[in-house]
Protein backbone atom coordinates (compact mmCIF):
# COMPACT_ATOMS: atom_id res chain seq x y z
CA UNK A 1 0.00 0.00 0.00
CA UNK A 2 1.42 3.47 -0.89
CA UNK A 3 2.80 5.58 1.99
CA UNK A 4 0.40 8.49 1.35
CA UNK A 5 -2.58 6.16 1.61
CA UNK A 6 -1.28 4.71 4.89
CA UNK A 7 -0.79 8.21 6.36
CA UNK A 8 -4.32 9.18 5.33
CA UNK A 9 -5.66 5.97 6.89
CA UNK A 10 -3.84 6.78 10.16
CA UNK A 11 -5.14 10.35 10.27
CA UNK A 12 -8.68 9.11 9.52
CA UNK A 13 -8.44 6.56 12.34
CA UNK A 14 -7.31 9.33 14.76
CA UNK A 15 -10.10 11.71 13.67
CA UNK A 16 -12.63 8.85 13.93
CA UNK A 17 -11.53 8.15 17.51
CA UNK A 18 -11.93 11.86 18.32
CA UNK A 19 -15.39 11.70 16.73
CA UNK A 20 -16.34 8.71 18.91
CA UNK A 21 -15.04 10.50 22.03
CA UNK A 22 -16.93 13.72 21.20
CA UNK A 23 -20.16 11.89 20.33
CA UNK A 24 -20.31 9.68 23.42
CA UNK A 25 -18.41 11.62 26.12
CA UNK A 26 -17.74 15.27 25.21
CA UNK A 27 -21.22 16.27 23.94
CA UNK A 28 -23.58 16.95 26.88
CA UNK A 29 -27.19 15.68 26.82
CA UNK A 30 -29.58 18.09 25.08
CA UNK A 31 -32.11 20.11 27.12
CA UNK A 32 -35.06 18.70 25.13
CA UNK A 33 -33.76 15.49 23.55
CA UNK A 34 -31.55 14.26 26.39
CA UNK A 35 -29.16 11.45 25.38
CA UNK A 36 -30.94 11.05 22.03
CA UNK A 37 -28.93 14.00 20.71
CA UNK A 38 -26.11 11.47 20.16
CA UNK A 39 -28.11 9.87 17.33
CA UNK A 40 -27.98 13.25 15.58
CA UNK A 41 -24.17 13.07 15.14
CA UNK A 42 -24.46 9.68 13.46
CA UNK A 43 -27.33 10.75 11.23
CA UNK A 44 -26.60 14.25 9.88
CA UNK A 45 -22.99 13.67 8.77
CA UNK A 46 -23.74 10.50 6.72
CA UNK A 47 -26.73 12.31 5.14
CA UNK A 48 -24.67 15.32 4.03
CA UNK A 49 -21.78 13.11 2.88
CA UNK A 50 -24.22 10.97 0.86
CA UNK A 51 -25.48 14.14 -0.88
CA UNK A 52 -21.84 15.05 -1.60
CA UNK A 53 -21.11 11.56 -2.97
CA UNK A 54 -24.08 11.80 -5.34
CA UNK A 55 -22.74 15.23 -6.34
CA UNK A 56 -19.48 13.45 -7.17
CA UNK A 57 -21.42 11.02 -9.37
CA UNK A 58 -23.01 14.00 -11.15
CA UNK A 59 -19.64 15.69 -11.79
CA UNK A 60 -18.03 12.41 -12.96
CA UNK A 61 -21.00 11.74 -15.25
CA UNK A 62 -20.59 15.16 -16.88
CA UNK A 63 -16.83 14.67 -17.16
CA UNK A 64 -17.26 11.23 -18.77
CA UNK A 65 -19.76 12.51 -21.34
CA UNK A 66 -17.43 15.42 -22.08
CA UNK A 67 -14.04 13.66 -22.14
CA UNK A 68 -15.06 10.05 -22.82
CA UNK A 69 -12.47 8.74 -20.34
CA UNK A 70 -13.56 5.56 -18.52
CA UNK A 71 -11.77 6.58 -15.31
CA UNK A 72 -14.54 9.18 -14.72
CA UNK A 73 -17.17 6.50 -15.09
CA UNK A 74 -15.37 4.20 -12.62
CA UNK A 75 -14.96 7.07 -10.14
CA UNK A 76 -18.61 8.11 -10.56
CA UNK A 77 -19.78 4.54 -9.91
CA UNK A 78 -17.54 4.32 -6.81
CA UNK A 79 -19.01 7.58 -5.54
CA UNK A 80 -22.53 6.27 -6.20
CA UNK A 81 -21.90 3.11 -4.17
CA UNK A 82 -20.60 5.08 -1.17
CA UNK A 83 -23.52 7.52 -1.50
CA UNK A 84 -25.90 4.57 -1.31
CA UNK A 85 -24.10 3.14 1.75
CA UNK A 86 -24.40 6.45 3.62
CA UNK A 87 -28.01 6.97 2.50
CA UNK A 88 -28.81 3.52 3.95
CA UNK A 89 -27.16 4.50 7.25
CA UNK A 90 -29.09 7.81 7.20
CA UNK A 91 -32.44 6.12 6.60
CA UNK A 92 -31.93 3.47 9.30
CA UNK A 93 -30.56 5.88 11.93
CA UNK A 94 -33.38 8.30 11.03
CA UNK A 95 -35.91 5.53 11.66
CA UNK A 96 -34.45 4.93 15.12
CA UNK A 97 -34.60 8.68 15.79
CA UNK A 98 -38.22 8.80 14.58
CA UNK A 99 -39.22 5.92 16.83
CA UNK A 100 -37.60 7.58 19.85
CA UNK A 101 -39.00 11.07 19.27
CA UNK A 102 -42.21 10.61 17.22
CA UNK A 103 -43.22 7.16 18.44
CA UNK A 104 -43.16 5.47 15.01
CA UNK A 105 -40.33 4.21 12.83
CA UNK A 106 -41.84 5.56 9.63
CA UNK A 107 -44.58 8.16 9.16
CA UNK A 108 -44.06 9.25 5.52
CA UNK A 109 -42.61 12.59 6.53
CA UNK A 110 -41.48 14.58 3.42
CA UNK A 111 -37.78 14.20 4.34
CA UNK A 112 -38.15 10.46 4.97
CA UNK A 113 -40.12 9.93 1.77
CA UNK A 114 -37.84 11.97 -0.51
CA UNK A 115 -34.74 10.29 0.96
CA UNK A 116 -36.30 6.85 0.38
CA UNK A 117 -37.09 7.83 -3.25
CA UNK A 118 -33.49 9.07 -3.58
CA UNK A 119 -32.18 5.71 -2.30
CA UNK A 120 -34.43 3.74 -4.67
CA UNK A 121 -33.47 5.96 -7.65
CA UNK A 122 -29.72 5.48 -7.16
CA UNK A 123 -30.14 1.77 -6.31
CA UNK A 124 -31.93 1.44 -9.68
CA UNK A 125 -29.01 3.19 -11.43
CA UNK A 126 -26.57 0.75 -9.79
CA UNK A 127 -28.72 -2.25 -10.72
CA UNK A 128 -29.09 -0.93 -14.28
CA UNK A 129 -25.32 -0.51 -14.59
CA UNK A 130 -24.79 -4.10 -13.45
CA UNK A 131 -27.28 -5.36 -16.04
CA UNK A 132 -25.42 -3.94 -19.09
CA UNK A 133 -22.48 -6.02 -20.33
CA UNK A 134 -21.27 -3.59 -23.01
CA UNK A 135 -18.67 -1.40 -21.25
CA UNK A 136 -19.18 1.80 -23.28
CA UNK A 137 -22.98 1.60 -23.12
CA UNK A 138 -22.81 1.01 -19.36
CA UNK A 139 -20.64 4.09 -18.91
CA UNK A 140 -22.85 6.27 -21.14
CA UNK A 141 -26.20 5.26 -19.63
CA UNK A 142 -24.72 5.15 -16.13
CA UNK A 143 -23.45 8.72 -16.53
CA UNK A 144 -26.75 9.96 -17.95
CA UNK A 145 -28.80 8.36 -15.15
CA UNK A 146 -26.28 9.61 -12.58
CA UNK A 147 -26.95 13.14 -13.85
CA UNK A 148 -30.75 12.69 -14.13
CA UNK A 149 -30.91 11.38 -10.53
CA UNK A 150 -29.27 14.44 -8.96
CA UNK A 151 -32.39 16.69 -8.74
CA UNK A 152 -33.70 14.09 -6.26
CA UNK A 153 -30.77 15.02 -3.96
CA UNK A 154 -31.79 18.69 -4.10
CA UNK A 155 -35.45 17.78 -3.49
CA UNK A 156 -34.49 15.65 -0.49
CA UNK A 157 -32.41 18.51 0.94
CA UNK A 158 -35.03 21.25 0.50
CA UNK A 159 -38.05 19.03 1.31
CA UNK A 160 -38.19 20.29 4.92
CA UNK A 161 -38.37 23.88 3.67
CA UNK A 162 -41.11 23.44 1.07
CA UNK A 163 -43.42 21.00 2.89
CA UNK A 164 -44.82 20.82 6.42
CA UNK A 165 -42.64 18.43 8.35
CA UNK A 166 -41.80 17.13 11.81
CA UNK A 167 -38.13 16.81 10.83
CA UNK A 168 -35.91 19.18 12.87
CA UNK A 169 -34.30 22.00 10.89
CA UNK A 170 -30.93 22.51 12.53
CA UNK A 171 -28.95 24.02 9.66
CA UNK A 172 -30.65 27.30 8.77
CA UNK A 173 -29.67 30.47 6.93
CA UNK A 174 -28.52 31.97 10.23
CA UNK A 175 -26.18 29.04 10.99
CA UNK A 176 -26.37 26.08 13.37
CA UNK A 177 -29.16 26.27 15.94
CA UNK A 178 -27.60 24.18 18.71
CA UNK A 179 -25.28 24.37 21.72
CA UNK A 180 -21.61 25.19 21.03
CA UNK A 181 -20.44 21.69 22.12
CA UNK A 182 -22.97 20.08 19.82
CA UNK A 183 -21.85 22.34 16.95
CA UNK A 184 -18.21 21.33 17.52
CA UNK A 185 -19.14 17.64 17.65
CA UNK A 186 -21.10 18.01 14.41
CA UNK A 187 -18.08 19.62 12.72
CA UNK A 188 -15.77 16.79 13.84
CA UNK A 189 -18.35 14.21 12.73
CA UNK A 190 -18.48 15.85 9.29
CA UNK A 191 -14.67 15.78 8.94
CA UNK A 192 -14.47 12.14 10.11
CA UNK A 193 -17.27 10.90 7.84
CA UNK A 194 -15.87 12.79 4.83
CA UNK A 195 -12.46 11.18 5.42
CA UNK A 196 -14.03 7.71 5.81
CA UNK A 197 -16.03 8.25 2.61
CA UNK A 198 -12.89 9.30 0.72
CA UNK A 199 -11.10 6.11 1.83
CA UNK A 200 -14.04 3.94 0.78
CA UNK A 201 -14.27 5.71 -2.60
CA UNK A 202 -10.50 5.32 -3.10
CA UNK A 203 -10.63 1.57 -2.33
CA UNK A 204 -13.67 1.04 -4.55
CA UNK A 205 -12.01 2.99 -7.38
CA UNK A 206 -8.84 0.91 -7.03
CA UNK A 207 -10.78 -2.37 -7.16
CA UNK A 208 -12.98 -1.36 -10.09
CA UNK A 209 -9.99 -0.01 -12.06
CA UNK A 210 -8.09 -3.28 -11.52
CA UNK A 211 -11.19 -5.25 -12.53
CA UNK A 212 -11.42 -3.15 -15.69
CA UNK A 213 -7.74 -3.78 -16.45
CA UNK A 214 -8.15 -7.57 -16.03
CA UNK A 215 -11.25 -7.52 -18.22
CA UNK A 216 -9.40 -5.64 -20.99
CA UNK A 217 -6.40 -8.00 -20.87
CA UNK A 218 -8.68 -11.06 -21.06
CA UNK A 219 -10.67 -9.55 -23.94
CA UNK A 220 -7.46 -8.74 -25.83
CA UNK A 221 -6.16 -12.31 -25.37
CA UNK A 222 -9.37 -14.10 -26.36
Amino acid sequence: MPKNRLIFLGVTAAVSLLYVYMTWIFAPPDVNLGELVRIFFQHVAPALVAYGAFGGTLVCGIMYLWKGDLKYDILGAASLKIGLLFTTITLLSGMMWADATWGVYWNWDPRETTTLILWVAYACVLAYRASISDREARAQFGSIFGIIGFPMVILSYISIQIWDTLHPQVITGSGLEMAAEHGMTLMVSMIAVIMIALILIDFTYYIDSAQEKIHRIRMARS
Binding site: E35, L36, I89, L92, I196
Partner: protein, 46 residues
Protein backbone atom coordinates in the same frame (compact mmCIF):
# COMPACT_ATOMS: atom_id res chain seq x y z
CA UNK B 1 -35.17 2.63 26.27
CA UNK B 2 -32.95 5.46 25.00
CA UNK B 3 -29.85 3.32 25.61
CA UNK B 4 -31.26 0.64 23.29
CA UNK B 5 -31.85 3.14 20.47
CA UNK B 6 -28.38 4.66 20.90
CA UNK B 7 -26.82 1.19 20.75
CA UNK B 8 -28.75 0.25 17.60
CA UNK B 9 -27.74 3.50 15.85
CA UNK B 10 -24.07 2.90 16.75
CA UNK B 11 -24.35 -0.64 15.34
CA UNK B 12 -25.97 0.68 12.13
CA UNK B 13 -23.34 3.40 11.68
CA UNK B 14 -20.11 1.61 12.56
CA UNK B 15 -21.40 -1.81 11.52
CA UNK B 16 -22.29 -0.47 8.08
CA UNK B 17 -18.92 1.24 7.59
CA UNK B 18 -16.77 -1.63 8.88
CA UNK B 19 -18.72 -4.32 7.02
CA UNK B 20 -18.29 -2.41 3.77
CA UNK B 21 -14.61 -1.76 4.53
CA UNK B 22 -14.05 -5.48 5.22
CA UNK B 23 -15.79 -6.36 1.96
CA UNK B 24 -13.55 -3.89 0.08
CA UNK B 25 -10.36 -5.22 1.73
CA UNK B 26 -11.29 -8.79 0.83
CA UNK B 27 -12.02 -7.75 -2.77
CA UNK B 28 -8.73 -5.82 -2.89
CA UNK B 29 -6.73 -8.90 -1.85
CA UNK B 30 -8.62 -11.00 -4.38
CA UNK B 31 -8.19 -8.53 -7.25
CA UNK B 32 -4.45 -8.15 -6.54
CA UNK B 33 -4.10 -11.94 -6.80
CA UNK B 34 -6.03 -12.03 -10.08
CA UNK B 35 -3.99 -9.16 -11.51
CA UNK B 36 -0.71 -10.92 -10.65
CA UNK B 37 -1.90 -14.16 -12.30
CA UNK B 38 -2.98 -12.36 -15.49
CA UNK B 39 0.26 -10.37 -15.66
CA UNK B 40 2.41 -13.48 -15.08
CA UNK B 41 0.48 -15.25 -17.86
CA UNK B 42 1.28 -12.39 -20.25
CA UNK B 43 4.96 -12.48 -19.26
CA UNK B 44 4.97 -16.25 -19.81
CA UNK B 45 3.54 -15.83 -23.31
CA UNK B 46 6.15 -13.21 -24.18
Amino acid sequence: MQQFELFIVAVIFWGGIFTFLLYLLMRMMNIDKQLKIVESQIEGEQ
